[in-house]
């Protein structure tokens, strides 16, 4: 952990307004921003812990606990609602037996809401580990889960 944080700090410290960049780099490495990283980052950037913590909690993107091996984000915004993303979301919850912001017991999947992926002409949309999916049906969802589960 410490190594990833130190590297992130070293990479971005000298740029103006580097905190978000540092947090992005940490999360890219570790999958989340560990609470123990906050004082280290605060020290290095001459900020208070409260400031760093305040930034981590302000942005939906930053996680404070480790996610599952796969991150599934289902769009909840208007265009996807027009194509009944609520039904897809309900299906995903049941299929994975978790709610938003939770991780399956086997650590495979974390489910998150997202508000527009820019795929609004092919709704409902979802993103899995940075890959975009369009016109997602419950069957597509199950196929994605099966494919990801087979891979590991």
């Amino acid at each position: 952990m410490r190594e990833a944080v130190d590297l992130a700090i070293a990479q971005h410290k000298d740029q103006p307004g580097p905190l978000l960049q540092v947090l992005h780099a940490v999360q890219a490495q570790l999958g989340y921003v560990p609470p123990a990283a906050v004082p280290v980052i605060a020290d290095a950037l001459n900020l208070s812990r409260a400031e760093v913590h305040g930034v981590v909690t302000f942005y939906h993107f930053f996680r404070q606990s480790p996610p599952g091996r796969h991150i599934v984000q289902i769009c909840q915004a208007e265009a996807c609602r027009a194509m009944h993303c609520e039904t897809l979301t309900e299906h995903a919850r049941k299929r994975l037996s978790i709610d938003f912001h939770q991780t399956t017991a086997d650590g495979a999947f974390t489910l998150e809401p997202v508000y527009c992926l820019g795929n609004c002409a092919c709704s409902p949309a979802m993103m899995v580990d940075g890959d975009l999916y369009g016109r997602v049906t419950p069957e597509d969802f199950d196929a994605m889960v099966a494919a990801k589960s087979a891979k590991q």
Partner: protein, 513 residues
């Protein structure tokens, strides 16, 4: 002879399997010993046809779509590399009516070129705007933009030239050009398509802006939800540096312009310009009180241009062809073209760049082909989550800033989200409040507390608990938010709610099952 095959790298095309199609085409060509060159272009913006594969033939580019990987052997067998007939053949791409009838100024190269090839950009007229700008005085560049009538495409529609003039008029010091690429509005993807499909145009626009106002550094604030755009921008920026279009001596002019991408972190409010500046400085995206204007005290307290992607990407053509060319498009005080985005429950979703003035009905039916479900369209939301819901009876409204304002709506960033008759507008009103509650920056009470209260009130309305009284309270809450919020999130969330109440009152009075 090598045949060029175009398969988009656009995120939507990828979401529909474009990578698998590209792999299948490469494999099939290898097996058949055919010499092809695959170009990963942007999307033409006809998403019901994606993945749209194009082949360069003697009779121009021929389109096939929507192509699945399984279709590929059949396409080769039919001779698609020569533009031969096939059930998926759509004819010459440029002749497809959806595309042919458009007036593409900003999207002129999107889907046409290899987005990250500087040579391709130059071969298609790229950087002519910057070259001309470098022959002008800064004030002349700003004047040209002012005369073009360009208004900000991010939502507020403020005249771009006037904003630039304010920055130019500040005494020489460190100034910045920032591009708002947060594109958080549901139903919008024009920024994304432009950044993925023609990133050099944005880079050129920002460079011209920098030279116009004396800013040596630019930032693109890109939402984290757009990893594909991130990659395309970074590739294009690296190529522009390599060839001297960015850096200490732009095209040998002796002028510096540096540019980098900074990622947001999933906060809708960071699309509001002062919140975006806070975020760029590495802080919580809390909205700043104005004045001072960002043009006077913006990023790190310095004079700063904040413009939307499409605003900045409109600048090269204005400089290349002149202000008059641009302002000849459009109607009234809405000059030029706007890339409209058709989304939601629509048969032919995509991007339609036209001069201002097309009616909503023309867009929804002539282009969109009606709903995707085949059921009647009942409502559309124009301008993102803070835009009003518009009923069928108002579909003849022209899409220009003033005409929409006239019916209590807004054009915003040009997104149009269609709903069929299965929509429950009371639930959409509840969602508007919920979204505001989730995304509020927390600075003012009407927005922070009011939106949560709005969700509770709507829950009671939907459950038919003391319904008329709670509807009355929703109306009062909307008035409080409208007048007591610091920025548009709290201040405009009432638009979708009040318009839903006004045009679809029956949805708020349904019997509870």
């Amino acid at each position: 002879m090598t045949t060029t095959v175009y398969i988009p790298r656009d995120a939507t095309a990828l979401s529909l399997g474009a990578d698998a199609v590209a792999q299948a085409i490469a494999a099939e060509a290898r097996q058949r010993n055919l010499d092809i060159k695959i170009v990963r272009n942007g999307s033409r913006g006809m998403f019901w046809l994606e993945p749209l594969v194009e082949v360069s033939t003697a009779s121009g580019r021929q389109a096939y779509g929507p192509v699945k990987a399984a279709d590929v052997p059949g396409l080769f067998a039919a001779g698609f590399l020569d533009g031969a007939a096939h059930p998926l053949h759509l004819g010459a791409t440029e002749e497809i009516p959806y595309l042919k009838s458009q007036e593409r100024l900003t999207f002129v190269r999107v889907g046409v070129i290899d987005p990250v090839s500087l040579d391709d950009y130059l071969a298609h007229g790229g950087y002519a705007g910057l070259r001309r700008a470098l022959t002008l005085e800064p004030a002349q560049i700003v004047q040209e933009v002012t005369d073009s009538g360009l208004r900000g495409r991010g939502g507020a529609a403020f005249p771009t030239g006037i904003k630039w003039k304010t920055v130019l008029d500040q005494p020489p010091q460190q100034k910045y050009v920032t591009c708002n690429a947060d594109e958080g509005d549901s139903g919008t993807f024009a920024d994304r398509m432009l950044m993925e499909g023609d990133p050099f145009m944005l880079i050129e626009g920002m460079t011209i802006a920098g030279i116009a106002v004396g800013a040596t550094r630019g930032y693109i604030y890109l939402r984290a939800e757009y990893p594909h755009a991130h990659r395309a921008l970074n590739e294009a920026i690296a190529a522009a540096y390599q060839a001297g279009y960015l850096g200490p001596d732009v095209l040998g002019s002796g002028k510096r312009f540096d540019l980098e991408v900074r990622l947001g972190a999933g906060a809708y409010i960071c699309g509001e310009e002062t919140s975006m500046l806070e975020s760029l400085e590495g802080r919580r995206g809390e909205v700043r009180v104005r004045p001072p204007l960002p043009a006077i005290k913006g990023l790190f307290g310095q004079p700063t241009i904040v413009n939307n992607v499409i605003s900045l990407a409109s600048v090269p053509v204005i400089l290349e062809k002149g202000a008059q060319f641009y302002r000849d498009y459009g109607m009234g005080k809405s000059r030029g073209t706007i890339p409209l985005q058709l989304a939601g429950n629509i048969k032919r979703g995509g991007v339609v760049e036209r001069a201002f003035g097309l009616t909503l009905r023309e867009l929804l039916y002539d282009y969109g082909g009606g709903s995707a479900s085949g059921r009647p369209l009942r409502a559309v939301q124009v301008g993102g989550p803070l835009g009003a819901y518009i009923p069928e009876s108002q579909f003849d409204t022209p899409l220009d800033y003033e005409a929409l304002a006239g019916i209590g709506a807004l054009l915003g960033h040009g997104g149009v989200v269609a709903f069929d008759d299965t929509v429950d507008m009371a639930r959409m009103a509840r969602y508007a409040m919920e979204f505001c509650a989730i995304e509020s920056c927390g600075k003012c009470t009407p927005c922070r507390i009011g939106s949560t209260r709005g969700v509770e009130l709507m829950d009671r309305v939907i459950a038919n608990i003391d319904r008329e009284r709670n509807l009355q309270l929703v109306e009062e809450l909307c008035e409080t938010m409208l007048h007591g919020s610091l920025c548009g999130l709290g201040g405009m969330t009432p638009y979708p709610v009040q318009s839903a109440l006004k045009h679809f009152p029956e949805d708020f009075r349904k019997t509870v099952q």
